[in-house]
């Protein structure tokens, strides 16, 4: 646990939240899975029962199956959205910000950022992939998608990433406490919804 001296200052704005820990993350992950099952199973049951009652109810069954597919898909899309690049600033500021970000990370991280816009950072909770408006945390086959960003919307993209990276490095659990969990589930569910150039980041090459 981080001492007060090493705690993220932004924790004061979410004082009511319990501090994130590996165990709490595992529980939240399981809860997300249970929620997904609770969304899918009733619709599948409805689809099967309607077909058994009357084949003429086929359209209703189809609609129920569509719901069973669509609701988890929307949640996974919400997770993938945290890694999406935001609007770029002018070339000059982007170059300057990229230079500073480059000074903060090693060569492999710079290379991944150049390809995907995401910076890898190994933490105690798992492997983080830090983007401009959020971060993905890879833990085994699961991904946690965190929505979090710097309060200045006019920053160049490199500075947005650097803000999150510095906060993460200051206090990893605090970072996961301040950020909002947008999704948790299997990696493949988010990977397929990312833009093509970002998908390799979730392939586990840095894990």
């Amino acid at each position: 646990m981080a001492t007060e001296a090493h705690a993220l200052p932004e924790l004061a704005s979410v004082y009511w939240r319990p501090r994130a820990t590996a165990e709490r993350l595992r529980r939240r992950g399981r809860l997300w899975t249970l929620t997904t099952v609770a969304h899918v199973v009733p619709f599948v049951i409805v689809a099967v029962v309607m077909m058994l009652l009357s084949p003429l109810a086929f359209p209703v069954s189809l609609a129920a199956l569509a719901h069973a597919w669509l609701i988890p898909a929307l949640y996974a899309q919400r997770g993938a959205n945290v890694a999406r690049p935001l609007r770029r600033a002018a070339d000059g500021p982007e170059r300057v910000a990229l230079g500073l970000l480059g000074d903060l990370v090693d060569h492999r991280a710079r290379e991944l950022h150049a390809r995907t816009g995401l910076v890898p950072e190994q933490g105690r909770l798992g492997l983080w992939l830090v983007g401009e408006a959020g971060a993905l945390l890879l833990v085994g086959r699961r991904v946690f998608c965190w929505c979090v960003k710097a309060s200045d919307p006019e920053l160049p993209s490199g500075d947005r990433v650097a803000h999150l990276l510095l906060a993460l490095r200051t206090d990893e659990e605090g970072f996961a406490t301040v950020a909002n969990l947008a999704f948790s589930g299997a990696r493949w569910r988010v990977r397929r919804r990312l833009p093509k150039h970002q998908r390799s980041a979730l392939a586990g090459e840095y894990a």
Partner: protein, 74 residues
């Protein structure tokens, strides 16, 4: 020469440069640091690979001090 920088719309801006044995530059840097804190900025220093630290006073022996804006869940 140590630097105090602020991440902002320009990429970053150098707010102050100082050397430990130059009292005038030190005082200017401390004043610039205090002014940034007044705006709600957060001061960071890097501590090797994967580590950073939040500082509340200007660490005069550091080569680079970075001011950032607060982050918040979206």
């Amino acid at each position: 020469m140590s630097r105090l920088i602020r991440m902002d719309q320009t990429g970053h801006t150098t707010l102050a440069e100082w050397s430990v044995d130059d009292e005038v530059s030190r005082e200017a840097a401390v004043a610039a640091f205090a002014a940034e804190l007044e705006t709600g900025a957060i001061a960071m220093v890097t501590r090797g690979a994967g580590h950073a630290e939040h500082v509340r006073e200007l660490p005069l022996d550091e080569e680079l001090v970075i001011m950032r804006r607060p982050i918040a869940g979206g």
